[in-house]
Symmetry: C2
Subunit: 366 residues, 2 copies
């Protein structure tokens, strides 16, 4: 059933999106500001479940690309948010009928709300990942052969580009260097697909889930209950670590926020390795959960999600492992988003501690 | 009067273009191969003087962008050459009527011949600089307010992009990083202009001049006459140095071939500083001629032009200084292409040894 995003739903939705964003996808507060402003200016946004999207719909994803460290300081204007959609409509020669989220994340779940409001279009209850990943080809539509291009990008100065590339990795490569040159954050739109393609390739109901998680954390806090337990239950995951952040190393390089954080528990130590998102969690040097499954860091008492760029010395945190969409565990998907792709020498560890048998290494592929 | 480029004219034209290319613009032999192949495949190309271009013509420049060091190893296919023109036609919603050269240079005077042949369009007898410069905004049309964008770029793999930027420097910045990511050489097309704009903003008759210079060098060699004297006369320049190349330093960085070469004369030493093109010539440490005037290096006996990537230890060379189009000496133009822009701490020295009084420095602009 369709539902409506009103300004009062934004804080919960953005909070839940930051939970599923696994540290990436940008600051939920910042992203929420833009969405709330757009709703007040242009009216509420209708959210359509995947099953209700017509077969012949023209669906575009809208997202912010860049380092979250920069995004939080460079919130786009509504003009910048809609510019790539208009550029793509001109390039496609067709009017867009639905907006979709490419990923779930503090900014990348709320920017599409702003875009849908400003464009007067419905937003699909779903996204391309069910979580956040750092590179643009890392969406389930890529696995279904859906082209990222034509892909449009725009900056706050008014520069716009449209790419038509031979595959989604080349879209990422060219858009990424343009993004870095344009100031490390741009608005993008692409992955044009029909309604039937969207139903097959997207993760359904993710905006509903974000809202439920985000409202649940606030309600538990209000009721003086444990704000983390409900999130763990909704995600079907497990809380596997609690402790204090004692070290954070972070650098914004080649357009990403890369780094690691050390968290000291009662008698073990957790190391979080991230590139925009948390990708590997090691306890006492042994990987316990890795990409593509979700590693979620929450503030100990409030249950508020902490993004990778928000990690600070002294924070007391609880860490959750949760399953990703099962499609991320195919051999083809693991080659694209498994630990090996990011340079970590470990097989994929699922949230429950099991290890994916299949991960094509460079050696196996050769 | 219109004239026709036939395959037998290509070697002379490419040689002359390499002379005016002041060391940049790519290898004339390589560029000539592609043009000759296109003419044989698609027929001869009509060259139209600027005065005969209709006011309402739709003119596009076509060029190769990148480091000449890479261009010589990665000659584009005809498909790649025409891809950005087709992308721009789609973006502009209009059919192109005339092709123009953005600059004069071994590759960038011959690639547009190939494009015109493959597209079945006339080529304008003129170009955007009257020489070669390393960055795409460095054309006289920029001084006339003509936008580089929409600008299309394409690579040999089939990737294509179209940029719409706020000014021509941003076109350069974004296209350059894309170019580097795509392998340090791409085909570009842009600077859409009307016939009346082309007449105002381009340098006229430059293809005719290239042909005359190139044929003159070959004829003089044939007649055992001095092959350099005729070039000096045609350019209204002067030969200011002769000697032997004793040192060449060259690096391909940030998409350019940058470096310096030392030439030892009878009792003085010449230092050539280049970035794709020769930009500063110093004799015994003192600048004697700089960008925007032309610094041309010819092989001592044959008069063959030597590109910056063709410079080798032991070559005996003669070096010519020649005037650029006078419009390059305005204050606005010098801010864009004068020695200061390239990081050389010297005012512009004209070919005859006089110094441009006006050159806005960073201090003056601040």
């Amino acid at each position: 059933m369709s539902w409506t995003i009103t300004p009062d739903l934004i804080p919960g939705l953005a909070r839940g999106a930051a939970v599923l964003g696994t540290g990436g996808g940008g600051d939920p507060y910042i992203g929420g500001l833009l969405a709330a402003q757009a709703l007040r200016q242009h009216g509420d946004v209708t959210v359509v479940p995947l099953r209700d999207v017509p077969d012949d719909a023209v669906v575009l994803t809208v997202a912010m690309m860049g380092a979250p460290t920069v995004m939080v300081e460079k919130l786009p204007s509504l003009d910048e948010v809609v510019a790539p959609v208009h550029a793509l409509e001109a390039s496609l020669g067709r009017a867009v009928t639905h907006i979709a989220c490419a990923e779930v994340g503090g900014v990348n779940s709320t920017i599409p709300i702003a875009a849908a409001a400003a464009l007067g279009l419905p937003l699909i209850d779903g996204d391309g990942m069910g979580r956040a990943f750092p590179e643009l080809q890392m969406v389930l539509p890529t696995l279904y052969g859906i082209n990222a291009s034509p892909l449009a990008f725009s900056d706050e100065k008014g520069n716009v580009g449209v790419l038509n590339t031979i595959d989604n990795s080349w879209t990422e490569r060219i858009a990424r260097v343009a993004c870095v040159e344009m100031g490390c954050s741009v608005m993008i739109s692409g992955f044009a697909m029909s309604g039937s393609q969207a139903r097959e390739a997207l993760v359904g109901d993710s905006l509903s889930l974000c809202s439920e998680i985000g409202e649940g954390i606030a309600a538990a806090r209000e009721a003086k209950a444990d704000p983390v337990a409900d999130t763990v239950r909704l995600l079907g995951g497990r809380e596997f670590f609690a402790g204090k952040v004692v070290d954070v190393q972070r650098a914004t390089t080649t357009g990403f926020a890369r780094g690691r954080a050390r968290v000291e528990g009662a008698d073990t130590t957790l190391e979080l390795l991230f590139q925009n998102e948390h990708l590997v969690a090691e306890v006492d040097g042994n990987p316990v959960v890795t990409t593509p499954d979700l590693i979620i860091v929450l503030e100990h008492d409030s249950g508020e999600p902490i993004t990778t760029e928000g990690l600070r010395y002294g924070q007391r945190v609880r860490v959750i492992a949760a399953p990703s969409d099962e499609r991320w565990h195919s051999a083809q998907a693991l080659a694209m988003v498994g630990p090996g792709y990011f340079g970590y020498d470990t097989p994929s560890h699922r949230f429950d501690g099991s290890v994916d048998a299949v991960e094509p290494s460079d050696e196996a592929a050769a």
